[in-house]
Symmetry: C2
Subunit: 527 residues, 2 copies
């Protein structure tokens, strides 16, 4: 049995709190010692990736203390409890099974009388068959013509992850002949979002994927109406253009208004749903089921790494613990995610949801207040764009912001030009290497305005190329990192009670049941 | 003469530091007192906007102290010094003249023997004439056909602002018959960025706008080569497809490789350049010069508000001072920008650059170290998307994150559906009103997991519709806010020395002149 204990009750918390020495990156990253450190503080991941933490403020002593924390907090045991089907989402009394969508790490998990691995695999198989028929022209529109576009209608976890993954692989798929259908996304309840997307597609040749676990998400149902209106206005039969991704008990299941329905369940949280049917339908239609299967393989490989009990062979756990060390003992409040890959332009937005919605909590998993910091603010943009934007503050601002770099040796399209004796891809990689060192070591200058203190920590996940496997591995790495941090903080990373109050108040506004300041704001906005 | 004094040397700093009482939003925003506060703490802006700060942790006493700070720090006098042409960017010994691109608030500013207002107006006029000829089919491609697409090649300030503004007005222009040409943007040195954009346009009917003040920005010149290769591969004459926006002394000026060149100068910083030729060329081509002129009018109107010496009639100055109060006296480290408008989806990324690159500094304007906090981390995504993403942390996380909401009564396309008795636009507005109150007042619950502390401050800029004038007003409001905060902190908001070290090190990597850890990282990335 695992013991769920508040972080500050652990011996290792006290030990880490009492460690006053801070690793000086300007020292340890200098000279040949620095080079040795880059080689040593580097851990293989799957899919050709490595996690390099040489430029983090850790040393043997800190790593040993983090290892003790991992043991004492029973991180491996808690992950095993999760993948073996214990009720880890205690607030909502649910299992947490997203890893089962891509593999099985432990025992068979049976819930509601069903083997859940078989259930998720069956949904993936049904999606693969459906997508193959669409691609083969066996499922067609009213005029007997092939569908060319897939439009996902969903919000939050039904949008950010699948959208980030689509953007991550669109160019790769184009290059490799795997772009079967273009994908678009409608999410915001702002009517200009749906209207603009609908203006940009040929609805007669579009399949719409409506994603809502409950079948009652207001934004999503509203946007579905937009789409149905557009289809009807074009003289089309909406039921021949729409599929649903939902739970088996939702009003969207077994509904003649949809060409097909694919299922998820309550054990897949929205922000963890990219590897379920939520990502599977749109991504299998866009890239073909084989590419989606490769993405799942990359995620499964990284889940296996996360299940390794040896901290020094478990990149997600180490990344998690270094993040906790930075948050609770070095006092840093935010983290920047900076992928040197335009294809990952929306990956930071996905991680922002994943991390902040999971770990932005002030009570432990028993709903008791806690008195230590939990999840940081997460933000980021792709490099080199960010260098010409907010890096000024990261280099010379008054707060230290830890950084998570991501970079690849090869571009996806492998189209390149040589300018001033180097390719664009070499320039891109040179910049990320340079930034790590500029942040870590800084540079003394007599003019304080040109002085760089250094001592600003970063890690990098480096890989060969952003392939489907690598995208899956990145996704799973960060899902598992966030999970391990939640275990350390003894919080429930799988509920989101903080989003409820706004919904309740918005309904009151729409029902004109308001008074006081809420009525005043409603009047200001002429609702 | 104005006195440039460190913030913590001011009497008003001491006074604000000694104010221990914190305004309790759960109290002041409750009941009819709350409604009165929403009405009272509301300041008109231009272009149909208002700045409402009722849900900020201020009261008469705090506002009075902030008023004293404005006086003592001579904020109005410093702005006057700026717009009258003093050397405000002391590090680089430059004037700061971006406001002159849209109006003249004070004396004629003559620099390098030229009346600068006349110079900027002349560039705008030249752009307007050029754009009109392109739209009229007087300037055409080799085949005598009209150009249909404009592609901006630039990075940082040459990208983020113009791109955010284009996205902000694309649907409005479509609706109002002003979308003359579609615009695309190439920024990242990642070769996949340029390749993907080039795959998505018809180069034979595209005009490319190369934007680089110095004419030497490596990313931009590299991407220009990409574009020239693509044009040549299509058998086209690159010089008939490219225009330059640059300084008069750059290698791109008076260069037969370009169809035309439009000029900016050293007095326009990159992140402040959207209202210069940097934004002017691409936006005038996309929307027509009249729409760009309306955008400038909105910005000019807001500049006039910023020049008002009465704090209570100066929204940018008040917004700035409340931000300083939150940063230095309430101890908040980051700020979320949350526009309830899909059209403003990239506006937070622009503000992230504007704010963090301007005020992420640790030395004062005389390059002396300072010992108080300066610019916060800025991040954001459009609502309602953000509600389903990171709002969990904003509501229930362990750090308080002040919020800047933006919202409009009407959508841009004015296409809407009624679901459950309300339109999408009403739902959008109801959500932002609800969120303000949920953050401010929270809600007690016996279950701490469902408990909302409240006391989380926000302001809202509310308007009728996101028109060209409103976009200009928003842009200028935030530019002026950032400027006033820089004045309070006594820093130079107009240089960016923090971006230099990374550039120097990247060049060393590309020249293979590295050792130690930098070489190790270069090897890791196979450069």
């Amino acid at each position: 049995m695992v013991a769920w204990v508040d972080f500050d009750k652990l011996e290792s918390y006290k030990k880490l709190s009492s460690m006053t020495k801070k690793v000086d990156l300007t020292e340890v990253m200098a000279g040949e010692e620095g080079a040795a450190r880059v080689a040593e503080y580097c851990m293989p991941m799957s899919s050709g990736l490595v996690y390099n933490y040489a430029a983090k403020q850790v040393d043997g002593e800190v790593l040993a203390a983090l290892g003790e924390l991992a043991e004492e907090a029973q991180l491996s045991e808690k992950f095993a409890a999760l993948y073996n089907g214990e009720v880890i989402n205690t607030g909502e009394k649910r299992l947490v099974l997203h890893q089962l969508c891509r593999g099985q790490l432990g025992d068979a998990v049976v819930a509601d009388g069903v083997d859940k691995r078989a259930f998720y695999a069956e949904q993936q198989k049904r999606i693969a068959e459906f997508a193959a028929k669409v691609h083969a022209g066996e499922i067609v529109n009213e005029a007997g013509e092939k569908f060319t576009t897939v439009v996902q209608i969903g919000i939050g976890g039904s949008d950010l992850g699948p959208r980030a993954i689509y953007i991550a692989l669109e160019n790769w798929a184009r290059k490799n002949g795997s772009l079967k259908m273009e994908a678009k996304f409608i999410s915001n309840v702002d009517p200009d979002d749906a209207a603009a997307v609908l203006n940009s597609v040929d609805v007669a040749h579009s399949v719409f994927v409506l994603v809502s676990k409950s079948g009652t998400t207001l934004e999503t149902l509203t946007n579905e109406s937009f789409v149905k209106n557009a289809l009807e206005a074009a003289g089309l039969d909406a039921s021949r253009h729409m599929i649903a991704v939902t739970s088996e008990t939702s009003p969207l299941a077994k509904n003649s208004g949809y060409l097909a329905a694919f299922f998820m369940d309550d054990y897949i949280g929205g922000r963890y749903s990219s590897s379920s049917a939520v990502g599977g339908a749109v991504l299998s239609l866009a890239f073909g089921p084989d590419v989606f299967a490769r993405f799942l393989e990359g995620a499964a490989a990284e889940d296996r790494n996360a299940a390794n009990k040896d901290l020094m062979k478990n990149p997600a756990m180490l990344d998690a613990l270094i993040g906790v060390y930075e948050r609770n003992f070095l006092g840093y409040q935010s983290t920047a995610v900076l992928p040197y890959s335009q294809a990952l332009s929306r990956f930071p937005a996905h991680l922002q949801q994943l991390d902040m919605e999971s770990n932005g909590k002030s009570v432990n998993r028993f709903a008791e207040p806690i008195s230590y910091k939990t999840g940081p603010v997460i933000f980021g943009e792709p490099g080199t764009n960010g260098q010409h934007s907010f890096y000024q503050l990261l280099h010379q601002g008054t707060d230290i912001v830890p950084i998570q770099f991501i970079g690849f040796r090869k571009s996806q399209l492998e189209t390149d030009v040589v300018i001033q004796d180097s390719t664009s891809q070499q320039k891109l990689c040179a910049n990320v290497a340079a930034q790590i060192m500029a942040f870590a070591c800084g540079k003394k200058d007599e003019n304080p305005n040109k002085n760089f203190e250094g001592g600003r920590p970063s890690s990098i996940i480096a890989g060969d190329q952003l392939t489907p496997e690598a995208v899956g591995a990145l996704l799973a790495h960060f899902e598992n990192k966030v999970m391990f941090q939640g275990f350390v903080w003894n919080i429930n990373s799988f509920d989101q009670e903080g989003v409820q109050l706004g919904k309740v108040l918005a309904k009151k506004v729409l029902a004109h049941q308001t008074d006081g300041a809420l009525k005043a704001y409603s009047d200001l906005l002429h609702i």
